[in-house]
């Protein structure tokens, strides 16, 4: 009994070892082609609905959508790339693209884009498209976008003398001062959670600060524009215009917003749906969105620059079917599919033509986003950016809460960022050395 089981198991093991050793998804000679598409979170659930039409139009190509929870996505992506077991296509947050490019995991798409009739770069928001260009090559096609704008209580602002949202930093400060004067106590003008990096960075982007210098190998947080933006930021706390809390101290953002504990906060498109859902009916119509104000007091028409967020679609180098993968990407990038995707997921399309869709065109909350998307800039496209945001959040918190003078905090930040970028400097140095040696 034991013997037979042992031998059979060994034979099975040998066979399985041989077959399994080929890894996942290697090309078989016989069609149909199966594309593995990794999508994360809610997008993963929703995109399934778009697949049947594609498969009908392309008989012979099967798309298998694999839905991965966001919390596990980053780890699974990197592990699969390192393990040479990556899928064909994936949805990539655009801050993850630089990492995978550094891993040489993606297929550069320039030649495919040049030939493509379905994807026209001019139709895309410029700042968004730019997030996918690294070292002169294009690595992804934007799938959906987000950026950050101001959500505010229009009633509170109106009673403070601001029937429209502030358009410059001077107006912004004025509005917050008046709101605070009328409210007092535990009610503030704006919520800028102290432990988040996005708000100081947005202010930095708005003031045109480069954030890093010398080919993104050194921190540049002490240069004048960022210093000015950071001074504005810390000033809001110093003058009690911003609530002195971190995001874990806010039990229910929407409840607090509805109660008027703060009149403004900065967030992305998902919060439109959340506010519509969670704020009581009495409050609907008393809140809305507006683009980020610009630092220049004389320019009241141009918004301040904001974050260029969202996700792109990428093709992995190990994919045995890059052409089929590209066909699927072209399909998802079609304006009709983008509108449909928006309807299913609430994610904003990166193609301006898709915004002509009636639902988006008439959505008053989306208007601010559309305007803002024309003024977005990418954060430094390097793998270390994630780590830098953590350092930034820590120093910002030290400056706001810990009594550290803002300029000192920025000096410390630059030192720490320089240390985090040390390896990148070393590698860039070697690259230049190599190219110099061979030229």
């Amino acid at each position: 009994m034991q013997r037979g089981r042992g031998w059979r198991a060994s034979a099975n093991a040998a066979i399985l070892l041989a077959v399994a050793g080929c890894g996942g998804g290697r090309g078989q000679t016989a069609p149909p082609v199966t594309l593995r598409f990794w999508a994360f979170g809610r997008e993963g659930e929703v995109v399934e609905a778009l697949v049947p039409d594609f498969e009908r139009a392309h008989p012979g190509i099967n798309v298998r959508v694999e839905q991965i929870p966001f919390t596990a996505a980053h780890e699974k992506l990197l592990t699969s790339v390192v393990g040479r077991a990556a899928p064909d296509i994936a949805q990539l947050g655009n801050t993850w693209v630089p990492e995978l490019v550094a891993l040489r995991a993606l297929v550069p798409l320039d030649s495919l884009l040049a030939r493509s009739r379905a994807i026209a770069r001019s139709d895309y928001f410029d700042g968004i498209w730019d997030t996918n260009i690294i070292d002169g090559a294009t690595w992804g096609v934007p799938w959906y976008v987000d950026t950050r704008v101001i959500f505010y209580r229009s009633d509170i602002l109106a009673s403070a003398g601001f029937p429209a949202a502030p358009r410059t930093w001077r107006e912004w400060r004025e509005a917050l001062t008046r709101v605070r004067a009328r409210a007092g106590g535990h009610r503030y003008g704006i919520l800028l959670p102290i432990n988040e990096w996005a708000q100081p960075v947005i202010l930095g982007l708005a003031s045109g600060a480069p954030l890093l210098r010398d080919d993104d190998t050194y921190g540049d947080f002490s240069e004048p524009r960022f210093r000015a933006a950071f001074a504005f930021y810390t000033g809001l706390f110093r003058d009690s215009l911003a609530a002195p809390v971190s995001n874990v101290q806010i039990a229910n953002l929407y409840q607090s917003f509805g109660n008027g504990e703060f009149a403004m906060f900065i967030s992305g498109p998902w919060d439109v749906g959340e506010c519509l859902r969670r704020l009581p009916p009495s409050l609907q119509g008393r809140w809305t969105t507006a683009p980020i104000p610009a630092p220049d007091p004389s320019d009241t028409t141009t918004p301040g620059t904001s974050l260029a967020g969202g996700s792109s679609l990428v093709v992995f180098k190990g994919s045995p079917h890059p052409d089929s993968a590209w066909a699927f990407i072209e399909y998802l990038s079609g304006p009709a599919q983008q509108s449909r995707f928006y309807a299913l997921s609430g994610d904003l399309p990166p193609r301006q033509s898709a915004w002509e869709d009636s639902a988006l065109r008439t959505n008053s909350y989306a208007r601010a986003f559309r305007r803002q998307l024309q003024f977005v800039r990418a954060t430094p496209k390097i793998p270390e950016w994630d780590e830098i945001t953590t350092l930034l959040a820590d120093q910002a918190e030290a400056a706001v809460r810990g009594g550290v003078p803002p300029d000192s905090a920025l000096a410390v930040l630059d030192r720490e960022v320089d240390r985090a970028l040390e390896k990148r400097r070393w590698m860039r140095g070697r690259m230049h050395h190599d190219t110099a040696a061979t030229s």
């Binding site: 060994s10 998804g25 596990a72 592990t79 040479r84």
Partner: protein, 302 residues
């Protein structure tokens, strides 16, 4: 023995247990004492605690979606339904993960039995220089946390193109220090004369191993098989790291994935947990004698 009163903190049942232990009083003679009752009440309470979460899990798995997250939380399903299980096996492909777990655990068990028994037998019955020192060196491996080897092992697997494959999951578990130790302890008890007699008769070593040692080892092999199968079935961290394709997930990995996606679906998650737990529980209940013996063999110096 210095005189000391029983401290008030000592549970009476513990002292009851100690008191009666060596006495040879027949159990039935003067009826059941209050100590016995107390002891059994306590034991039953502990049994309740041990079982309660599992019982609730089973109960909730039969509840209709959404009914477990009501206040006050229900203990029994009203009405009971198979819907969660149906959903798991039709829509969520749990049967595939069940099959994957069975394959992986089966492969690991089979290879483990073979390689560990061979090595354990060699350590016990063959004499070669530095045998005992080598064995003690191998035993030291028990102190090294498996996490230490994981990253380099993953990179090694990548070079062998074994990432995201069952082979990659199985490879590190095919031979283990504990398995060798267990077999060796048992084989030490096999009389040398038996083996020497066979050698004198002209039997080769492999023949002796296969026809004499293995059959004699049947009890410890069953123990090892039960042990290895259960630990392979329950393994989480390594399959999590190695398997990137959801079609290859084993049950624990699939369950962890599901729990992040379906945080709200309590009843569904309970059903998935039941499916994950049931095979090992059944295996344990039917073969518990062997499993428990394996622990004591490893644990108590005999």
């Amino acid at each position: 023995m210095t005189g000391a009163v029983i401290p008030s903190g000592v549970p009476a049942a513990v002292s009851a247990g100690l008191d009666e232990r060596p006495a040879r009083r027949p159990r039935w003679d003067t009826g059941v004492s209050w100590r016995t009752v107390l002891l059994h009440v306590l034991l039953a309470a502990i049994a309740g605690v041990a079982v309660a979460p599992l019982a609730w899990m089973v109960s909730a798995s039969f509840m209709p979606a959404g009914s477990a997250t009501t206040y006050p939380p229900p203990l029994l399903p009203h009405p009971a339904t198979w819907a969660n299980y149906r959903e798991l096996f039709s829509h969520l492909d749990l049967s595939r993960e069940l099959r994957n777990s069975a394959i992986v655990a089966g492969l690991i068990t089979a290879s483990s039995l073979l390689f560990n028994s061979m090595a354990g037998y060699a350590f016990a019955k063959f004499s070669f220089p530095a045998r005992d020192r080598l064995f003690r060196l191998v035993l030291l491996g028990l102190f090294i946390p498996p996490q230490v080897a994981m990253l380099p092992l993953f990179i090694l697997l990548r070079e062998l193109h074994l990432v995201n494959s069952f082979a990659g999951v199985v490879l590190p578990s095919m031979a283990t220090v504990f398995g060798m130790f267990l077999v060796r302890q048992y084989v030490l008890g096999i009389p040398d004369e038996l083996l020497d007699a066979a050698r004198v008769d002209g039997a080769g070593e492999l023949r002796i191993y296969w026809s004499i040692v293995l059959p004699l080892c049947a009890p410890v092999l069953v123990t090892l098989a039960v042990f290895v199968f259960m630990s392979a079935w329950n393994d989480f961290m390594w399959p999590l790291v190695v398997l990137t394709d959801s079609a290859k997930y084993t049950l624990p990995v699939g369950l962890a994935n599901l729990s992040r996606e379906h945080v709200q679906d309590t009843e569904l998650m309970m059903a998935a947990s039941v499916v994950t737990l049931l095979p090992v529980l059944l295996l344990f209940i039917s073969l518990q004698r062997y499993y428990i013996r394996g622990i004591t063999m490893g644990g108590v110096k005999g």
